[in-house]
Symmetry: C2
C-alpha cells in the first residue's frame, strides 16, 4: 500500500462504487479484488496499487458509507416526526429497490460478523456506529426541542430504535419473515406511545 | 446421511455439546467436522455417519437450541416484570460467562449471515425466530393479564424488544462499544415508560 500517497478522488469514487456493486452481487465471502475491478473500468492492479489488500479497500468502503450519510439518509423536512420516520424507512428499506437493499444488508452483516476477528473492520464499524447513533439521537432531540415529541430520553430511545433496525435487518435476511416490514409497523406503534405528543 | 435411521440420543447429545464448544472456540467459518469431533470422545466418522455433512449437523444444532429454550431462558417467577427482565438478561448476556456468550453470539451471527445463501439454515432459523417471538409475546401478554403491565400491544412490543436484542448483540461483537449493556439500560427506561404500570 502507498499510504504516503493519497488516493486520487476519481480512483476512490470508482473503487467505492465498484465495491458497492460487487458486494451486492457476490456478498462478502466470495469477494475478490478482480470481481471488484470488473465492476469498474479499471483493472485489478490499479486497485491493488492504491489499496494494497481487499481488507484495506473494505475498511475504506465502510468509511465511505459515512460520507454524506446524513444528507442521504435523513430527509430534509421541518417536521421531526416525518424526519424520524423517513430515516427509519431508509435504514430499513434502503434508498433504491428492495432486492438491492437486501443484498447490501446481507453483505454488511457478513462484514459485521467478521469484525470480532478483524480489528480494522471493528475500528471502522465502531466509528460508523457512533456517528449513526449521534444522528439518530439528534433527530429525537430536535423533536423534543420543537415540542413535537414527549420529553423522552433521546439517547436511550435512539439506542433501542437503532438496535431494533439492525436486528430486524438481520432477521429479515436470515428468515422467511418480512422482519423489516414487521418492525416498521411495531415502531409506528411504539413511537405513537412513547414519543409523539 | 442415514435419514431413515434416527440418531441415538447419546450420540445426538455428544454431537450437540461438541458443536457448541467448537463454535465458541473456532467460530463458524473455520469449523470442520474434525474440530467438532475433537470436542467429544467420538471420532469424525461417527458424526459423518449420523449427520452426513457439517451443514446438516448445524441445522440440527440450530433446532437443538430450541429444546428446553423456555425453561432455560425464561426464569420461573410469578412476577411478570422479573420474568421479562430475566429473559432479556439471558438473551443479552447468556447464561454463563461473558466471553462464552460473546463467542457464541459471534458464531450465531456468522450462521445467520450465511442464511441468505442457505435454504436449510434459513428454514430452521425461521422456526427458531417464530418460537422465540411467541415466547416473548406470551411473557408480555401474561403481564397484561395479571394487571402488572399497561394494556400494550404484546406482539409489537415483543418485535421491538427481540429485534433490539439481536441488533445489540451484533453491535456488541462488531464494535468496541458495550452495546448489550447499553441496550439493557435503554430497555429499562423504555419498559418503565411503555409497559410497567
Amino acid at each position: 500500500m502507498h499510504s504516503d500517497e493519497s488516493i486520487p478522488d476519481m480512483i476512490e469514487k470508482k473503487a467505492m462504487k465498484a465495491t458497492h456493486k460487487a458486494l451486492c452481487k457476490y456478498g462478502y465471502a466470495d469477494l475478490t479484488m478482480k470481481k471488484i475491478a470488473d465492476e469498474s473500468d479499471r483493472c485489478k492492479s490499479t486497485f491493488h496499487y492504491h489499496y494494497d489488500t481487499k481488507e484495506n479497500l473494505l475498511v475504506n468502503f465502510i468509511q465511505y458509507l459515512l460520507d454524506g450519510f446524513e444528507k442521504r439518509m435523513v430527509p430534509e423536512t421541518e417536521d421531526p416526526l416525518k424526519k424520524l420516520n423517513g430515516f427509519i424507512d431508509r435504514m430499513l428499506f434502503g434508498l433504491g429497490d428492495e432486492e438491492t437493499a437486501e443484498s447490501f444488508h446481507t453483505a454488511l452483516i457478513e462484514i459485521r460478523s467478521q469484525a470480532p476477528y478483524n480489528e480494522k473492520f471493528r475500528g471502522q464499524i465502531t466509528k460508523n456506529d457512533e456517528y449513526i447513533l449521534h444522528i439518530t439521537t439528534n433527530i429525537i432531540q430536535e423533536g423534543i426541542e420543537k415540542g413535537r415529541f414527549k420529553n423522552t430520553d433521546p439517547k436511550n430511545t435512539a439506542i433501542v430504535i437503532l438496535s431494533a433496525i439492525y436486528g430486524a435487518r438481520a432477521r429479515h435476511i436470515s428468515t422467511d419473515r418480512n422482519a423489516t416490514e414487521e418492525l416498521r409497523t411495531a415502531l409506528d406503534w411504539i413511537l405513537d406511545e412513547l414519543i409523539v405528543k
